[in-house]
Symmetry: C2
Subunit: 406 residues, 2 copies
């Protein structure tokens, strides 16, 4: 039986990053950029004003100045400051040649000069201002050719803004994995149906689809497969058309646990079955090579909801990250202090629902009481899983343990 | 001029939570539940087996036992254990009356008994097992009527799973705010167009739409409004049909800054114009009462991209949270230690792009160098904004400052 770290490594050996595609900017939110993007121009692309006001030469600011032009944003100045004069300018507009500062409009007053033209009065103190006050020079933030967003970056709102600034309406990124979700088991009924004797509702499909959406994948819900070979096989074959097929249930030791054998019949090569983990020991993982460079990863998650939740985070999530091109695909554990004593009776390493809180003196974690892998309500109070190694042990409050945030 | 805290309070006075609606489960991911949901049945709904194996009475486990029935998941037992016997049972299946433990199949062996029936051999140690080993009793995790998910909870994958378990295909939640995004300014060209002299690309629309998606809102991009009254007014009137209208640009002191006057002409009541903040001082906020219980909040964000980004997080985001029913709508600042010395020359409280990292001994923060509010590239290295109060000051490395994560 594999340890979790071995099982994750086995999953990641089979998963590979998708080929980069052109994806429209907003659709790429949350995806990973596949190529370095460099500035296609200086930013700002011209010397520009940071305020609404009057562009001047500093030495001229000892008297009122004639206003020889007005430049709005989107316009370009036609005059230059080669003699004592002011050019009215709006925030973001290109500066006239010769400008040394922009005097904010609220510091000035305008009047009609003797010759009938508009003049602006400027406070005398401006003459001693630093050169380039309220001016942003061309290329001050980015120069043509500078790296703006590096390959491997997650595309957040600010990256998308920066890429739009570079003129990219589409970016080269790795697409969302399409992930089929298939719950199996004769005991399952759809959510909207009242369970009969011995039946339970199919809550895993909704939960797994939501986990996939949070992971930026595209869920393809396939409903419930009955514990009947022909029906299960037909559903499996549909699921195998996606990048990943996630099944829940049907992987234990029961006589009705048909999933491994039907996957084998469908040509899926088993990589491992069972891992030394609680919850989730019966987890199954395999691969179908559909054609060169096109494979489907298949995860058979145990059917109990907490097992499904935990195994998704432990095993499926790293595979999705790898496909999407995230540089470190493994889940990262943080070390956190236990808020209360905790006793384990672990025949297997246990990933227990827990609440992780970021405090100013470091993270703290509270293990959430649970009655086992069917206790989904315990996870409602949780935002993470705390790892307790194998063995009977009592941890004092303040003990430092590993936690993986969901 | 309002301080940031006053301005946020003014925004939140005008924003109110939407009426609850029935929303299908997966569409509600990220939204906030509007009513307490209680269990509609015990969970598990029957005494169930945690393993594949044989249900037995402990005292009977001193010899091989006749297997009198097999119960798969989804089936119900028809026999009870009222004499020495075993009933084969699958994980998750309902236990027969009288069962005291389930012996995992891998600890047993089956053979044909003298009378021709199937018998199972069980290790003698089982007789000393604790009552209910490998059994989860009815209601062990949740009892009928127990609170499963409380009103006000964010709907994450595990909440959706727990609600599905309760039979809710639709949940009562507050819907996503529809938010129109309108960039203004003659200097703007669409992303795919090469800027001419004095022009820049409209990167704010993409960035703000992405920020809205991250905030679980529904963006309605309205393109670019020219600095021309009739055209701007037509675009504003379309935007005012949404729950929120976010404009960028056109709120400074320039002659072409038509946004406040055109909003007033459209009937939008100004709540404030300008806040004591850098970047973002020209921010404008107002309200249109369309009909009883239906209003549009209007934010005029400054056009420089970092101003837009920061003002969205400072002012728009709390309003969205309030509409969606999040109990604490205000952004929460964390205290973090500066990784390097930092000098401010602040005429206004400054929210500087920063990188916040969660370390095992507490959060640390690094201010990202920037050349001002047009420097979107600085935000690509950032994941937060660090607050530096007004005044010229040098902070030593290790100084504790406030940071708001994006």
């Amino acid at each position: 039986m594999m340890e979790v770290s071995e099982a994750v490594a086995a999953v990641l050996r089979e998963a590979s990053a998708f080929e980069p595609h052109a994806i429209s900017l907003l659709d790429a939110l949350g995806l990973v950029l596949a190529e370095d993007v460099r500035a296609d121009a200086d930013s700002p692309p011209f010397d520009k004003s940071l305020v609404d006001g009057f562009a001047v030469r500093l030495a001229d600011c000892v008297a009122s100045l004639p206003v020889i032009e007005t430049v709005a944003a989107g316009q370009v100045p036609t005059r230059s400051l080669d003699r004592p004069a002011a050019i009215q300018i709006m925030t973001g507009a290109p500066l006239p040649v010769g400008a040394e500062a922009v005097v904010p409009v609220e510091l000035t007053s305008e009047q009609i000069g003797a010759s009938g033209g508009v003049h602006v009065s400027i406070p005398i103190k401006v003459a001693s201002w630093k050169l380039d006050t309220n001016i942003l020079r061309r290329g001050a933030s980015t120069k043509l050719g500078d790296l703006v967003v590096a390959a491997g970056s997650e595309l957040r709102p600010q990256e998308l803004g920066a890429l739009a600034e570079c003129g990219l309406a589409r970016v080269t990124a790795r697409r969302r994995p399409r992930v089929a979700v298939l719950a199996t088991g004769d005991e399952l009924v759809p959510v909207e149906q009242a369970p009969g004797p011995g039946q339970i509702r199919n809550s895993n499909e909704t939960m797994l689809c939501a986990q996939l959406l949070r992971a930026c994948a595209e869920p393809v819900p396939l409903g419930i497969a009955r514990d009947e070979r022909a029906h299960l096989r037909e559903r499996i074959d549909i699921g195998l058309q996606s990048d990943v097929l996630v099944l829940s249930g049907g992987v234990s030791m029961g006589e009705k646990d048909l999933v491994p054998s039907e996957l084998a019949a469908a040509g899926v090569r088993q990589v491992f079955h069972k891992a030394n983990v609680k919850p989730g020991k019966p987890i199954w993982f395999g691969v179908l090579d559909r054609r060169p460079n096109s494979r489907t990863l298949v995860f058979g998650l145990p059917g109990n909801p907490v097992s499904s939740l935990v195994c998704f985070e432990l095993f499926v999530r790293p595979a999705l990250r790898r496909m999407m091109g995230v540089s470190s695909a493994e889940s990262v554990a943080v070390k956190a202090r236990l808020t209360a004593p905790h006793t384990t009776k672990g025949e297997r390493p246990t990933y227990q629902p827990a609440r992780l809180e970021w405090q100013s003196d470091g993270p703290i974690v509270t293990a959430i009481p649970w009655v086992g892998s069917s206790d989904l309500r315990a996870t409602v109070a949780a935002n993470s899983m705390a790892l307790f190694p194998v063995g009977d042990q009592t941890y004092e409050a303040g003990s430092v343990i590993e936690v993986i945030a969901w």
